[in-house]
Symmetry: C2
Subunit: 338 residues, 2 copies
C-alpha cells in the first residue's frame, strides 16, 4: 500500500461507482453546466442562511450519488466530508440528516482529494464496501466568513479567485462500474512566505509541485503516464507559477498536459478574476467533467492535485503567511489496463 | 477489517509506541500533573497569541512522542491532527514546521479518537509504518472564539465545562513496544435537539451511547471485555445521562466501569464546573494517565469513546441545536492475549 514516503498504490483499484454534482446559479451559467445533476437558480436553496444552503448542496450531492449508484444510505459505511466554513458547519449538519457514520476532514480546497484518497483507501483495504467522499463550498458563505459580506461590493485585485457554489460527491466502491482510483499522494504543508489572501493561487503553487514531485518519486510514475494533470484551483496565476516550478525541477510536461479545475468551470466572460476556487470546484470538475471525459474515452489516466490554502481570517490578522497543501489522486478509466 | 456497519477490527494490533503529553498551567495544578512530559507555567508559551501557543503545544507533543519512540520526523509517514480553532489554524501551523505529510481532521473533541482510529487503520493496512495522531485545545483560544474573551470574566452556569490547555500525541507503529489498538467504531452524528452550548455534556451523551451500542453490536464485544469504558469529555452531567441511557438500552455496566476523561484531569477544588473538555482532554488523559495504568498492569483492556459537540458560534446564532458525534477506540495492554 505505502510506496515511498507519502503515497499509496491501490492494487484493487477502488471504483468511483457514481457521483452527485450540485451547483448554484453562477455555475448554471458556466461552461460545465450540462455536467451537473442539479443546478439551483439562486444562492439560498430555500434556506434562511448561506451555510444552510451549503448543507442542502452536500445532502443533495450525497443523495444523488448514492441513488445513481443504485444504493441506499444504509449501505454506505462512511461519509467523508469537509468544507471551508468554521467547524465544518455545513458538513456536520448534512451528516446529521444523512445519518451515515461520519469522518470530518479539513484541508481547505484540498479537502476534495483528501476525502477521495481516504475513501479509496478504506475501500482498497476492506474497511468499507462503499464510502462517500464529498467536498463543497458556497460563494456567499465563504465571502462572508473570510472577506466581507457580498452586499458591501468590496473590490478585489485581478489575482483573487471566485469561490464556487457547489458540492461534488463520489461513491467509492469495491464493486460496480466506473473509473478507478489507482493511487494517492498525501502532501506536506508548504509555506513560501506569501501572505496575500487575494493571491492564493500563487501561494499554493509550490505545494502543488511539491506533491507532484513526491508522487512521481514515490510511485515511479512519470508525466507521460497521465493524459492530464489537473490542479485543484491554482487559477491563472498559480498555474503559471506551478508550470514554471515544474520546469525548474525537471518535470517535463507536454503542452496542455497541466490544467487547472479553477480555469475550467466558468466561461471566459464570467467575472471570476484569476479563476475559480473552493473545495467544491475541484470536486465538481473532477467528478463531473473529467470523469465524463473518461467514460467517453477521451481521457485514460488523470492525476488530480487538489490544492488548499490553509489560512484563516485569524492567521491573516496575526500577519502570518499562508501555509498550503496539496493532495494528489490518480484515476484511470474503466477497462484501461495498467 | 470492516465488521458490522461502522467498525474496524485491527488484527495486527498496531502499537502505540510512544506518546507526547504537553499541558498548561491549569493542568500543572491538576490531578494528573505527573503524567505530562512538559507543563507550561503560563498560557502564552512564549508566543504572541493563544493560537500560536496552541501550535507550540502540538509541535512539542509530536516532537516528544517521536523522540520517545526513538524515531525521527522523517520516519513518520503521516501526521493526523485537528483542533477546535477555525480552519484548524494551530494544527496547520504545527504541520508547517513539522513537515510531515499531513491529514487535517475535524470532529471537535472527538478528533482525538478520530485521529487514533485513522492512524491505527493506516498502520494496520500497511499504509504507514509510523503515523502520529495528535489532538489539542487551548482554554483561552477556545473561550475567545466560542464564547467571550476571558478578560470579560463572563459567568457560566454549573453545566458548563472547562476547556483543557493541552496536546496529546501518539506515535502508532507496526513495530515496537506498547499498548495496542485493537478496534475502532466510527460514530454517526446524533442530535437530540439540545441547543445550550453551556451544557454540551448533556447534548453529547446520546452520541456516546449510540457509538457504544454500535461498537458492541459490530464487534461482538460486551461490557465485561473492558476494565474501563471512558468517555471523552461528557463531564458530570453528560456522564450521568449516558449511564442512564445505557441502562435504558440494556447495556449493563459495573459500578465504576464507565468514567469520563473530563472528570479525571483536574482536582476536586479546581473551578471547572461540570468538568473538563476539549480535544486535548481525552488525548492527554488517554495517552498519559490511562496508558500508564496499562503499562503498570492496572488496566488490561479499555474502550475510549471521544465525544464531540459539532456546534459552531454561527450554528448557535442561527438557533440550531447541537449535532454530536463520538468515535470509540479499544486499546489493550501489551502482552494481553485476546
Amino acid at each position: 500500500m505505502l510506496v515511498g514516503k507519502q503515497s499509496w498504490v491501490f492494487e484493487s483499484k477502488p471504483i468511483i461507482r457514481s457521483t452527485g454534482i450540485i451547483g448554484g446559479p453562477f455555475e448554471a451559467n458556466g461552461r460545465l453546466a450540462d455536467e451537473f445533476d442539479i443546478l439551483h437558480d439562486n444562492l439560498w436553496m430555500g434556506q434562511g442562511s448561506y451555510e444552510k444552503a451549503q448543507t442542502v448542496l452536500i445532502e443533495q450531492a450525497c443523495e444523488k450519488a448514492i441513488e445513481k449508484g443504485g444504493l441506499t444510505k444504509d449501505q454506505i459505511q462512511f461519509m467523508l466530508s469537509g468544507d471551508l466554513v468554521n467547524q465544518l458547519t455545513p458538513s456536520t449538519f448534512a451528516g446529521r440528516s444523512l445519518k451515515i457514520p461520519y469522518l470530518g476532514l479539513f484541508g481547505a480546497c484540498s479537502t476534495s482529494m483528501e476525502g477521495l484518497a481516504m475513501a479509496a483507501y478504506l475501500v482498497q483495504t476492506r474497511g468499507a464496501k462503499h464510502a462517500v467522499a464529498v467536498a463543497s463550498s458556497h460563494n456567499a458563505a465563504t465571502e462572508k466568513q473570510f472577506r466581507y459580506p457580498t452586499e458591501y461590493g468590496g473590490q478585489k485585485p485581478p489575482t483573487a479567485q471566485w469561490t464556487v457554489t457547489a458540492a461534488g460527491a463520489a461513491v467509492v466502491s469495491h464493486e460496480g462500474n466506473g473509473p478507478r482510483v489507482t493511487s494517492a499522494t498525501i502532501g506536506r504543508i508548504i509555506d513560501m512566505g506569501l501572505s496575500d489572501p487575494f493571491n492564493m493561487g500563487g501561494a499554493m503553487a509550490p505545494a502543488a509541485v511539491d506533491t507532484l514531485e513526491a508522487h512521481f518519486r514515490d510511485t515511479g510514475a512519470s508525466p507521460e503516464d497521465y493524459d492530464l494533470i489537473v490542479s485543484g484551483d491554482l487559477g491563472e496565476i498559480g498555474l503559471a507559477i506551478a508550470k514554471e516550478l515544474c520546469e525548474q525541477r525537471g518535470i517535463v510536461l507536454k503542452e496542455n498536459q497541466f490544467k487547472d479545475c479553477g480555469l475550467m468551470i466558468y466561461k471566459e466572460d464570467q467575472p471570476v478574476l484569476a479563476g475559480a476556487s473552493g473545495p467544491g470546484c475541484s470536486a465538481v470538475v473532477t467528478y463531473g467533467h473529467l470523469l465524463n471525459k473518461m467514460k467517453k474515452g477521451e481521457l485514460k489516466r488523470i492525476l488530480v492535485i487538489a490544492t488548499g490554502a490553509l489560512l484563516s481570517p485569524l492567521s491573516f490578522q496575526q500577519k502570518e503567511s499562508i501555509p498550503c497543501i496539496a493532495h494528489a489522486v490518480s484515476i484511470e478509466a474503466e477497462g484501461v489496463t495498467s
